[in-house]
Every structure is written in structure tokens, then in C-alpha cells.
Symmetry: C2
Subunit: 284 residues, 2 copies
């Protein structure tokens, strides 16, 4: 099976679970449950939850253990997009080809929608009865840290600063590690944990190194694609502030090769190797 | 000891723990860690965390077990105030006599500050090593539900609707139950859980009935105080839309008496009885 097919199949599983999870509503609360579904069920590629599933499978775990964690990661990713799009942040009226959440539901509802998705992520982990209690707690800790002040939110703070200030290469790397890298690593970490692989296991460390590499690759390719489209903000520091297109791609290639070599250490690691390759060559 | 002294002493414990918890920062992230401290360390009365401590004590638990949960509840309360004050919500420039978070730190930082406080609350619960793993998971589930779509956030959605629409008494009660009641009940629930009292225990049910009564009292008194100050929004539906001041106070008195009679069933329940009395007669 090729990677695209595997990702598509995984996305179907994830979407079914998310849809089920977001199906409940109550009288008077239709607008918020509708806007939550709107923000989440938007046909994303589900790369993060795929990582959760893929690492759980690689290390012999069951999909049923990984799916709630995978959904929690996707809820956090979705919330971050909703809040990122708000007028006080990136002020984006469009997201994935349709009106962003606040464009469709108003700013107050979008704010609350993001809050709600973030909040839900943690009960989804807490209620995952397929794994033991200590593992669930580790996942909640990991996710909270990855999403919080010293993870994704910290990355957004530094990124806001970078919009108006000159920053050096080290800071750019830090922004990417926090803003996108932390949640990508957490997605993989939750997959490991769902399979019973703990933080002190060398397999866990391999999953983190793999995820660090593909996370950074993801961002470099984003910068290259934005540059091609001419859609980048002129004042924004990107990898192309520090290197030409060719060097940036070669940098991403080196990172990808590291990720592939990690994946290939494991029987059944072909999908993760292909995923790294796919992210390097993606066109949007 | 009287209730004010006991609340003050508890607030010192809570504030010390919150301050310790919010003391870490990282280079470049000073603005967000500062704004988190600003939003949380603001000299609130700490009623919610007091409930967590008081119920834990009532049922024989240790303060050390309750404090992390109490702090988590207060972080969630603080986040909700930061987001509530944003321009797209209540657009409040002042909070507790000083500039609100977005007035002091800008809108984007305030948005991220709220997100961060909410996120932190869950790792604080997950990492509470003073209680067993299953109890921590119950607390996370309880807090996530109380704060989420069918709790506090749902209350805010209904409240936004009520700002511009006529609503009936039943809906007003539902708004109050969700918007302020759910987190007050969760605060008490976490205190019970910290003391080893589970959801199927009659003591837990008593704690919930007590909290329901004081939560509603709290809101009725708020409406009365706003009315005295003339600070209420003319179009806003409050308890005074449906009854005169005297009837509203009598309603609150009945609720308070219910709460007091529940507290008095327990040895050591005097503080909780006094708290109910205090909330009925508070002047701001």
C-alpha cells in the first residue's frame, strides 16, 4: 500500500471518531456544536493523528488505543487554527478554501469554539479506557506541555514578535520547534504511549528524533511553497531569509534522510519512511 | 475562626502554589509568562479554590492533595475572565480595578494567555502525585466537562444569545447553571475527589447540591449589586427581569438556607455554612 492510501484510510478512521465525538448537541447550543464541527471536519490531511496511529502500529499497539489520543491531537490542532485566524492574530478570512471559523460564525463564537475544542481534547484523553490510567495521565501531561506556554503557544508568542522584529536563525529554529514541532512530536509521543512504549525507551527517543526532523522539513517546505506562490509576508523571517531555495531544499532533504533512516531501523517502518518522503515533496 | 479569616488563609496557600507554578519563564517568552501571572495573581477572593480545599478538609483529605486541583480550577476561572474581557466578548478594559489583560498586554497576547492558562490546568491535575491515577483522571474529566461546551462555554454561548434576545426564566437559570454554576460545582467535586469521596457517594451528591445552591445565590446577589450600582446592561435579562429586589433576595435566602442545612449535616461543616451566609450578604 502506498502512503497516500494509508493516510486516507487513517483519515477515515479519525474522521469517523471525531464526527461521533462531536455529534452531541443541546438546545440553544447548536451554534457552538455546529461551529466546532465546522472547524474540525474540514477535510484536513490529518497528518498529526496519522503519526499517532502510525507509531502505535509500528510498536505493536491497537488502533482503538491510539484513536482517542489521535483525535485529541487533532482537536488541539484545529483549535489553534481557529484562534490563529482571529482578527487579533493573523486575521485570515479563509481557511482550507472556505470561510474561517470567525468569518462563518462570528468572532465571539470562534473564540469560544477554539476554547471548547482545546477543553475537549483533555477529557478525550482522560476517558480513553483502552489504555491504563498512568498512560492516560502521561498523554495528558505531554499534550498539555506541547500545546502550552513552553510549546505551541510559546511558539506563537515568538512568532508574533518575529512579525515585527529581526530574528536570527537560532530563534527561527526555536519558533518552528515550538510552534509546529511540539505538537507533531506530541502526536508521535501519544502513539508510542498508546502502544505501551514509555518515555525512557530508546524507541520513544527515535520517534521524537524522527518527528523533530519531519516537523522542521514540513516548515521549510511551507516556506518554499509560500515563496513560489508569492504569498509570504515580506517582513516575515523564514528559512529563505537565511539561505537560497536550493540550500533550503537540501537542508530539508538532509532532515528527511535522517527521518527515513530512523524509520528504516524498524520492521514495518516503511510507511513512516514514505511519510517523510511525501512531506518533502508535497506540492501544497 | 471566622469564615473571612479562613478564606484569607486558604487564599495565601493557593496564591503561594499558583505563584510557584507560574514562576518559570524562558528567554523570549517573558511577555506571556508575565501576562499569565498578571491575569492570575490579581488578588481575587479565590472562592472556587476555597471550595476545593474546604470539601477536601470536610471529608478528611489533606490540603496537599487538594491544592493542585484548587489551582487548576482557579486557572480555568482566570482564563475565562481574560477571554470574557476581550473586545469580541464583553470588551472590558478594566478588571478588579486594574487594566484587563488585553488592555495591558494587547489582544493577541491576552488570547494566548487565556489559552495557556486553560492548557496548564490539565497538566496540573495530571501531575498531582498526591492522589492516585484514577482520581486524577476523574478530576480531569470533571473539569473538562464543567469548562467545556456543555458547561461554562455553553453558558457563555447562551449568555451571548441573551444579550440580544428575550429569554425566559428557565433559560436564565440554565445560563447561570452552566456559566458560573458548572465550575463552582467542579471546584467542590475536585475537593471531594481529593479526599477520596467518589461520584456515587451521598457526600458527593450533598456537595453538589450545596454548590448548586451557593452558585445560584452568587448570581442573584451579583444581579442585585449590579442593580444598586446601576451598572447592569439595560437589555440584559437578569433575575430582576422576573422578580423585584425583595423577592430575588428571598429566593437567594431560601437557596442559602438549603446550602446551610446541607453543610450542617457534617461535623466540621461550619465553615461551609458560614461561606453560604457570607455569599448571601456580600457587598461586592
Amino acid at each position: 500500500m502506498d502512503i497516500l492510501k494509508d493516510m486516507e484510510r487513517a483519515a477515515l478512521l479519525i474522521d469517523a471518531a471525531l464526527s461521533e465525538y462531536l455529534s452531541e448537541s443541546q438546545e440553544g447550543l447548536e451554534i457552538i456544536t455546529e461551529s466546532e464541527r465546522y472547524a474540525v471536519m474540514s477535510g484536513g490531511k490529518r497528518i498529526r493523528p496519522y503519526l499517532t496511529l502510525a507509531f502505535c502500529r509500528l510498536f505493536g499497539g491497537n488502533d482503538s488505543a491510539a484513536i482517542p489520543f489521535a483525535c485529541a491531537v487533532e482537536l488541539i490542532h484545529s483549535y489553534s487554527l481557529v484562534h490563529d485566524d482571529l482578527p487579533c492574530m493573523d486575521n485570515d478570512l479563509m481557511r482550507r478554501g472556505k470561510p474561517s471559523c470567525h468569518a462563518a460564525f462570528g468572532e465571539a463564537n470562534a473564540l469560544l469554539t477554539g476554547d471548547s475544542l482545546l477543553t475537549r481534547a483533555f477529557s478525550l484523553c482522560a476517558d480513553n479506557s483502552e489504555v491504563d490510567a498512568h498512560t492516560r495521565l502521561s498523554c495528558i501531561s505531554c499534550l498539555s506541555r506541547a500545546a502550552g506556554t513552553f510549546g505551541m503557544i510559546g511558539g506563537q508568542v515568538l512568532d508574533l514578535y518575529g512579525d515585527t522584529h529581526e530574528i536570527d536563525f537560532e530563534t527561527l529554529l526555536k519558533i518552528q520547534r515550538l510552534k509546529t514541532g511540539a505538537l507533531i512530536k506530541a502526536a508521535s509521543a501519544l502513539g508510542c504511549l498508546a502502544a505501551g512504549v514509555k518515555g525512557n525507551d530508546s524507541r520513544f527517543a527515535d520517534a521524537m528524533a524522527y518527528s523533530e526532523s519531519i516537523g522542521l522539513t514540513f516548515q521549510i517546505i511551507d516556506d518554499l511553497l509560500d515563496d513560489e506562490e508569492g504569498s509570504e509576508n515580506e517582513n516575515k523571517t523564514t528559512f529563505l531569509t537565511f539561505m537560497d531555495r536550493r540550500s533550503a531544499f537540501e537542508y530539508a532533504e538532509r532532515l528527511t534522510n535522517e527521518a527515513i533512516s530512523i524509520a528504516n531501523r524498524y520492521e514495518g517502518g516503511e510507511m513512516l519512511a514514505s511519510l517523510a518522503e511525501f512531506l518533502l515533496h508535497r506540492k501544497k
